[in-house]
Amino acid sequence: MTDVVKMVHGAGGQAMQQLIKNYILRHLAWGDVDVPLKMLDDSGVANGIILKSDSYTVKPLFFPGGDIGRLAVSGTVNDILMVGGKPLALALGLIIEEGFPFKDLDRILGSISNTAKEADVPVITGDTKVVERGALDKLVLNMSGIGVRHPKLDHNIEVIKNFRKDFSSKWLLDCNIKPGDKIILSGYIGDHTIALLSVREGVNFKVDVESDVAPLVEPMDRALSVGGVVAAKDPTRGGLANLLNEWAEKSNVGIKIYEERIPIRDSVRNACEYLGLDPLELGNEGKVVLAVIDELAEDVLKALRATELGKNAEIIGEATNEHNYVVMETVIGGLRVIPPPIGDPVPRIC
């Protein structure tokens, strides 16, 4: 490791994993709770209460399809949903640079409120700090949240146990996946990052793509109502490539996906090709990837497709015991390995 923190350490890939393992876990990986820190899942769980903290440094603050406010609510709500939780309440920490316009603050708070209503999760406490000009870039915020066990989670697990008698996990965790489980992606990938890039300075292109940022309450509700979901995760920093590699590592399985089945808009694909980006590594803020037992995969897919946010869902692959890699069958039928990204190729997307 280097001796100073670099941008890549916050980029959601391998470098960040090193920072977490060598520093954060070294100090904080103690505590005997349901889902402890060291499992590094989307949220932690203690005494049946789900807790999540996320900070948002997205740049720019306002982008096609959303803003930092909508992003903050969606991101934290989604992480609570991902372990099988039902979000209950949010806490908002604002850190504002001196000179920040009140009209922008107003707009952001309006967004927070609208998105929180959409997810039916109130903000019940918070904090505001102002720092002098130059001490940070306009505004950053922290959105923490608590949740309880999703009312459909027990049913979901009962359905799993009909087919997998030895399933003993009480939550949707990254380590639950077994060979044969199907991988479902809820829709188009790459939109959020490309939308952000299109309004960043120095990047010269226009696209008709909006960020997909949204709270995934309905899709998760429908999926759990069907049952059979063993794990859920949202492909944010580091994208689908990072997510699948985390699953492969934590569940000790291989994963095979099919390039043809991955939904990517033509405009996003073209922009990626020109900019030299891999859509599999780009962050998304309104998508979920589900690992579902084979027997229920088609039903869960159907349920997702009946929702607005999941209408373009696809089964993109499956877990396997043939190897320990994440492997993709390319559009022409060849095979290649999808490595864990060093970091998200684009900084400050969330």
Binding site: E260, D266, N270, G276, H323, Y325, V327, M328, E329, T330, V331, I332, G333, G334, L335, R336, V337, I338, P339, I342
Partner: protein, 377 residues
């Protein structure tokens, strides 16, 4: 004007999964009539397509595809890098250079990026137009543009020179001409090449014509290929058919871009500005008539002359134990270098094939190629 086919349509045609399946089946059928066959290509972009689409995992065991010296950053002489680093550090010249070229280390072990952290003024540009713009904006500084690339890239530089570049800008030409290098590959006794896939865009500029004399001597199949996966699969099938019928020829798969004559305007432009002399390719050796040098009348923009830099030469090229030279030449695959993905990674590159986005080692490393998965057909 409404066109029948959009660019997306063309791309989709050349990535058609059904057509790919049929081509792979045909390749297997033809390959069963052949012994071990080594097909080499000379283009980083072809290597990218081959690796990215997993083409090697689709080929029968007896067909080997290997990358030759197709990466301009990799073959730029170490002594040129040393010279330009010296200009930056000792004479306070502003160097304009492409991104990955700036990270390649010379024989002295220093790259232009290293020089920057030692205080040199290094600016990353994407084209010679960028360099001209900068030099125009900062007339009080002296600029040198590091001219790296093949015959595909040289015309843009020649064109700008003929239009006129600002007085405070000179150019270090390390441009190389590809056809003689292909000739050298075909002759190389330690390579035993059975066929060549020729570069698509370099040949778009040069045309197929300059390759004829090398074909006539070697009589090995030569196919000019595009860069989409279907292009490469068709090219492989073309080669296998030629080998089976014992009828080697120069064939053009990339008909939508490559012609016999090439881009005559671009070639004329190059030869108004440059002459061809013997050239040194890092890792590959000396190749007759392959280095673009400025004609005498352009000596005032030739950084080699203006700053007394001297001709590129071979020196202790690479770090100890690294097999960069063998990878560049196409003698071995990256996995056969003892440093690959151990000390030498994209984050900690030990040689130019890992530094450059068109370097074989980097392309393999980014696609995590250590194991090659084979499909059952």
């Amino acid at each position: 004007m409404a066109r029948e086919l959009s660019l997306n349509d063309i791309v989709k045609m050349y990535r058609d999964p059904q057509l790919a399946k049929k081509l792979v089946k045909a390749i297997h059928a033809e390959a069963s009539k052949l012994d071990h066959t080594l097909i080499m290509h000379v283009c980083g972009t072809h290597e990218w397509t081959i690796t990215h689409y997993g083409i090697r995992s689709l080929l029968p065991d007896n067909i080997e595809l290997r990358a030759g010296p197709g990466c301009p950053v990799c073959i730029t002489p170490a002594s040129d890098i040393d010279s330009i680093v010296k200009l930056a550090l000792e004479e306070n010249i502003t160097i304009t250079v492409y991104g990955d070229m700036s990270r390649a280390k010379g024989g002295e072990g220093i790259s232009l990026e290293d020089a920057r952290s030692l205080g040199a003024d290094i600016r990353i540009v994407y084209s010679i137009q960028d360099a001209v713009k900068l030099a125009n904006q900062e007339r009080n500084r002296k600029f040198v543009f590091f001219g790296v690339g093949f015959d595909t890239t040289a015309p843009a530089t020649a064109y700008m020179i003929l239009k006129g570049i600002p007085e405070n800008l000179t150019i270090l030409s390390s441009y190389r001409y590809v056809p003689p290098a292909v000739g050298a590959l075909l002759k190389a006794p330690d390579l035993a090449v059975d066929a060549i896939i020729n570069p698509g865009h370099s040949s778009t500029v040069t045309g197929m014509k300059p390759y004829k004399k090398y074909f006539d001597v070697s009589k090995k199949p030569m196919v000019f290929s595009g860069f989409e996966p279907i292009d490469v699969l068709i090219s492989i099938l073309m080669i296998l058919k030629q080998l089976i019928s014992n009828c080697p020829k120069m064939e053009n798969e990339y008909k939508r871009s490559v012609t016999w004559e090439g881009n005559v305007k671009a070639m004329n432009t190059i030869f108004k500005v440059f002459d061809l002399v013997e050239g040194y390719w890092r890792g590959f050796g000396i190749v007759e008539g392959s280095a673009f040098v400025f004609k005498d009348k352009f000596s005032d923009i030739d950084a080699r002359i203006v700053y007394g830099l001297g001709e590129p030469k071979s020196s202790s090229e690479f770090v100890r134990n690294a097999k960069c030279g063998d990878v560049i030449k196409g003698k071995i695959d990256p996995v056969e270098c003892p440093l690959y993905m151990k000390e030498c990674t994209p984050d900690t590159p030990k040689g130019p094939p890992m530094v450059s986005v068109e370097g074989t080692c980097r392309i393999w490393a980014e696609h995590k190629v250590t194991a090659i998965f084979k499909c059952r057909i």
